[in-house]
Symmetry: C2
Subunit: 380 residues, 2 copies
């Protein structure tokens, strides 16, 4: 078995999430916490019910503040190394749910600098272009202009950099190297970058000139970044950010633990057309048997099936319908071909609507960009 490696720059091995909870020092989301969330907003998103968002830091404390009338803001983001995939969309849809249910504002950071600095083969023009594409996908989810600030790092550097250097001053080379798995042959830019990723945590507090809590939904691979941010927050006199962490959406290939945006054989992109989606899903790894006869006899293995996981995580929010798919699979009556076409149809229905909204977003894109209407330089 491949050793488990999970950091912002590498995800390898078959992932043991319980082990990550111990290793990273996050807390599992338990039933008590789920009840608290439901109590506050009246319902539970299926990604919470189904354990896709599985761990957190101080979310219980955030809910306590919220229930006493204190608003928070959301902050999430994307590293644009390729086109947006349904894997990204998954956690963004959840972020949108949080934004709606708690009626709070969202900061969305797109790190074209990071992907340029980390990837020897990407130039900045490319990652910047991908950043704009990612912005369209996020806006397409239906955020109101006044409730969303989109940050493309290189474009907003006049706002971000003065905050980033305040963070950077509190982070030694040793701490960043250790957290990120870098060594002295890494470049100075990617080491500095972790400060840039921390900035949105502090923007609303700087804007409002008081401590505003921040909840960050993110894939657990980003945890090292935000552990550093939490340490720095305290040193700078800010609240530690609250976090909620999700698992990875698998890719299309076998042993494809995390959908890889840079690999078209692993990822379904938000811009894929109907035919492409059908072809990709047809080739996807399943938990099916060698022959139809065998499958009818033994049934499929949905727990080892990427196709089933897409229903589970995204395309079948209805628990009863999901249960039916599951039992038909294990019972041998639902075969992989049929199941794949059914999924492809659901994906295409979703993407058709998404692509329309995505297109509409182009004309209003600039309205969503973070504006320099507050000072981040002279704030000491």
């Amino acid at each position: 078995m491949v050793k488990q490696i999970v950091n912002p720059y590498e995800v390898k091995g078959s992932i043991d999430y319980d082990k990550l909870v111990d290793e990273f020092g996050v807390s599992k989301i338990n039933n008590k916490l789920l009840n608290e969330i439901e109590k506050n907003v009246g319902e539970l998103h299926f990604l919470l019910r189904r354990g896709y968002f599985f761990s957190h830091r101080d979310l219980d404390k955030l809910l306590k503040r919220y229930s006493k009338g204190e608003k928070f803001v959301l902050y999430t983001g994307r590293g644009p190394s390729g086109s947006t995939t349904i894997g990204h969309l998954l956690s963004w849809v959840f972020t949108k749910w949080l934004a709606d249910k708690f009626d709070v504002k969202t900061y969305f950071q797109i790190t074209d600098d990071e992907k340029f600095l980390f990837n020897p083969n990407l130039n900045l023009t490319e990652t910047n272009k991908l950043a704009y594409e990612a912005a369209l996908d996020f806006i397409a989810l239906g955020f109101k202009e006044e409730n969303l600030d989109v940050i493309v790092n290189t474009n907003a550097a006049d706002i971000l950099y003065p905050v980033a250097i305040r963070i950077a001053k509190k982070l030694t080379l040793s701490s960043v190297k250790a957290s990120m798995g870098f060594n002295d042959s890494s470049n100075i830019g990617i080491n500095f970058y972790t400060a840039m990723q921390s900035v949105p945590v502090f923007l609303e507090s700087i804007r409002q000139k008081k401590n505003v809590p921040v909840l960050i939904p993110y894939g657990i691979d980003q945890d090292n970044h935000f552990r550093l941010t939490r340490d720095v927050a305290e040193k700078l006199g800010f609240l530690k950010p609250f976090t909620i962490n999700c698992k990875f959406m698998p890719g299309l290939k076998s042993n494809d633990g995390k959908m890889n945006a840079s690999d078209p054989n692993s990822a379904i992109y938000t811009t894929d057309d109907e035919k492409t989606v059908i072809n990709k899903i047809k080739k996807a790894q399943t938990g099916g048997r060698e022959t139809i006869t065998e499958q009818k006899k033994l049934g499929g293995r949905p727990k080892e099936c990427n196709v089933y996981s897409y229903y589970d995580l995204f395309f079948e929010p209805d628990d009863n319908k999901l249960k039916t798919i599951y039992s038909n699979c294990v019972g041998g009556s639902l075969l992989c071909g049929e199941c794949k076409l059914m999924l492809a149809n659901k994906v295409n229905v979703f993407l058709k609507k998404h692509q329309i909204e995505r297109h509409k977003a182009k004309s209003k894109l600039k309205n969503y960009f973070l504006k320099k209407d507050f000072d981040t330089i002279r704030i000491d």
Copy 2:
């Protein structure tokens, strides 16, 4: 004797400039080069004649390009750790002379980020305020708006950062640590900063979309920065910057090899009033003797005298008049008290005019700031 240390963050010991020439691999400015400069612009600045600007990199090659009709730009700067001193002004006056004589444009970078990141006791609001003050001093020297771009790093980060990360991607932690004398307990910001200092070298080339030569006048303590820049320039497909290096202007105290902007007992500030200047110079270290009788008999020692060096470097451009001061001093007829008052008078005459221009600069400051009228993001 204190060991000689000269890097951007520390200047210590009595400075042996010949040793620095060897150590840093710069070339001494010789008579042949002085003749070349004079041939091109019709005169020689006294700071060249007197060897204050003493070394260079490829200046001969730059003159060859210039004499064939190729224009260059100038780039110099200031780290605002305190108010501007006459030490800073000295090399800026020389830069202004270069700008006028060669009829070229100047980039002036003020590194409020650097001084904040390096100095545990300075906050960013302070260094940013000092940056604006430094800008006034530079503009006061008489630059035309169209010939000067003033860059305050934190304010211009949207233009600088996309170029800085291109540079940063080519600089490993090991190379920056070795050059700057940093270790793993240094912060990630000050390590990244060297990329920010390199950016202005490339701005005119990016603007004009072709390689434009850059000449950087700077104190030799900054050489490590620009050695790194020269390496990176080649890797990025730009011309290596050309350089011309000056010695340090001594401070007012004894063994004060470099005027220290953070120490009012070491520095004369451009904003000092008449009385302050007189008092500071009265207390300055000289090459005088213990008693007046002794000095009348043995004469003073101008070569060991900070007061004399201020005539030499700044306040007596006329070689004949300087010679008279020198011989009257060593002859014992010019005593320190009189000599100091004469200097104080010259400094005050200069500062009075400077302070008027400095005040005028306030209303037009913004006109000089680097404008985002060209793209530094999508340029690959």
